[in-house]
């Protein structure tokens, strides 16, 4: 049993690096786009807020797998030929952006209006208000749910195996294809996913407890 685990581990490890790579890309891209989206949601003109609302509702209303397949198969139709990896990263990031955008919106809107008024009263410009007053406070409300949402990105990255990217999920499938021992391999893979995500959930809970004093 241990011997078996040791033999399969290098393959799973290779898959794990791909899973981590895809997750990191998605988390980074969706963080940048999501923060912009959240700011647009909160301070943008009405037409922009409407467009963002439509985007967010459509993306969050679509099953992630359908989204990945759609991007993968529709992109060539739009004249863009993509390898599976960029297509999957784009689909996952677009999906994640909608979620991060909502988290940012919630965080920004939870900050008391008096803060903005006070910042205006001392003559800060919009950019200054955002940088020195709103965002630092919003960060505390943003971090715990965002760290938690990173676990969703890691879990969601398992779907890239279905367009043929050899991540942890597909690597374990391939090992099983050779060894015909599904249970130990799946348990091993589950353990790896669990380790990553559980530490993230614990971090999220710690952050939440730490910033709880400001949640009134």
């Amino acid at each position: 049993m241990i011997d078996f685990a040791l033999k399969t581990l290098p393959f799973l490890w290779e898959g794990l690096t791909v899973t981590l790579y895809v997750s990191a890309m998605v988390v980074a891209l969706s963080l940048v786009a999501g923060v912009l989206m959240g700011i647009g949601f909160t301070y943008g003109p009405r037409w922009l807020r409407f467009l963002l609302r439509v985007y967010s509702d459509i993306l969050r209303g679509t099953p992630l797998l359908v989204l990945i397949f759609s991007v993968y198969y529709l992109m060539p139709f739009a004249g863009v030929n993509l390898n599976p990896l960029p297509a999957a990263v784009i689909a996952l990031s677009a999906f994640k952006t909608a979620h991060v955008g909502e988290i940012v919106r919630g965080a920004l809107q939870s900050i008391a209006a008096g803060q903005t008024d006070a910042a205006k009263a001392i003559g800060l410009t919009f950019a200054q208000r955002l940088a020195y007053v709103i965002l630092p406070q919003g960060l505390r409300r943003f971090l715990p749910p965002w760290v938690n949402s990173v676990t969703e990105a890691v879990k969601g990255s398992s779907l890239v195996s279905l367009v043929g990217i050899v991540d942890l999920m597909l690597a374990s499938q391939q090992v099983i294809g050779r060894t015909y021992e599904p249970m130990p391999v799946y348990v091993l893979a589950a353990f790896m996913y669990f380790l990553i995500n559980y530490s993230l959930s614990v971090a999220s809970r710690r952050l939440e407890a730490r910033y709880a004093y400001i949640r009134e």
């Binding site: 359908v66 529709l74 599904p182």
Partner: protein
């Protein structure tokens, strides 16, 4: 761009999509029903049980919540029969998976719901001499259900979307139908342009229907 959209092939096999959609909805509903039973039982076990029971429930919840659903599907469909020495068909296995999966989320929902039942109501029901069983069935349970209704509908919507994963073990739901048409007619662009809205609109309709139910049973309803 020399591609000409031709939806005829999609319409020709549209029954695959409609039956697939029906099965998707069915899978979501059956799974959430079983999931509710698991969730409620474990929530009660967690609030009433000793330390061992508690940590078992927590371990279950944490495990399921921190592992991709796709892995759980494979684990239950390919893994469990391989050591159990039995086999079940894909649909049963998927319902079992989705029930176990939703159960883990519903434990948390029901725990929060049970905690949110006002203490005064329980005390009042004690005062009028209801037995513990009566207190649970006719006081705590109905109030709790009405409190958790919005969370339940969120879980149901998300389960409906998750049924798309059943296609990987060849359960003939909507995405499986889409893949079937795609591989048999090569009209993939048209298929995705039809299936995507089907998921969106159905999810939205379920949401609208559930919001009506929520309003009907809301505790803050204007009388």
């Amino acid at each position: 761009m020399d591609y000409h959209l031709n939806f005829n092939f999609v319409w020709k096999y549209a029954d695959k999509l409609w039956w697939g959609l029906a099965l998707s909805i069915e899978l979501a509903f059956i799974s959430i029903l079983i999931g509710c039973v698991i969730g409620l039982a474990l929530a009660l076990a967690h609030s009433g049980g000793g330390r061992v029971v508690r940590s078992c429930v927590t371990a279950y919840v944490e495990f399921v919540r921190n592992v991709p659903l796709l892995l759980l599907i494979y684990l239950i469909f390919y893994g469990v029969p391989s050591i159990g020495g039995f086999a079940y068909d894909a649909t049963e296995s998927f319902v079992a998976t989705l029930a176990v999966y939703s159960g883990a989320y519903l434990v948390e929902v029901f725990r929060a719901g049970l905690d949110a039942v006002p203490k005064g109501v329980i005390d009042a029901s004690k005062a009028i001499g209801l037995t513990p069983w009566q207190r649970f069935v006719s006081v705590r349970l109905p109030i709790m259900l009405r409190i958790v209704l919005p969370s339940l509908s969120n879980v149901l919507i998300s389960l409906f979307k998750d049924t798309s994963l059943a296609s990987v073990i060849a359960v003939p739901e909507l995405l499986y139908g889409a893949n079937w048409i795609k591989t048999n007619t090569f009209r993939q662009v048209e298929v995705w342009l039809v299936v995507w809205p089907m998921y969106l609109v159905t999810g939205y309709l379920i949401l609208v229907a559930l919001r009506q139910v929520e309003r009907r049973f809301s505790l803050n309803r204007q009388r």
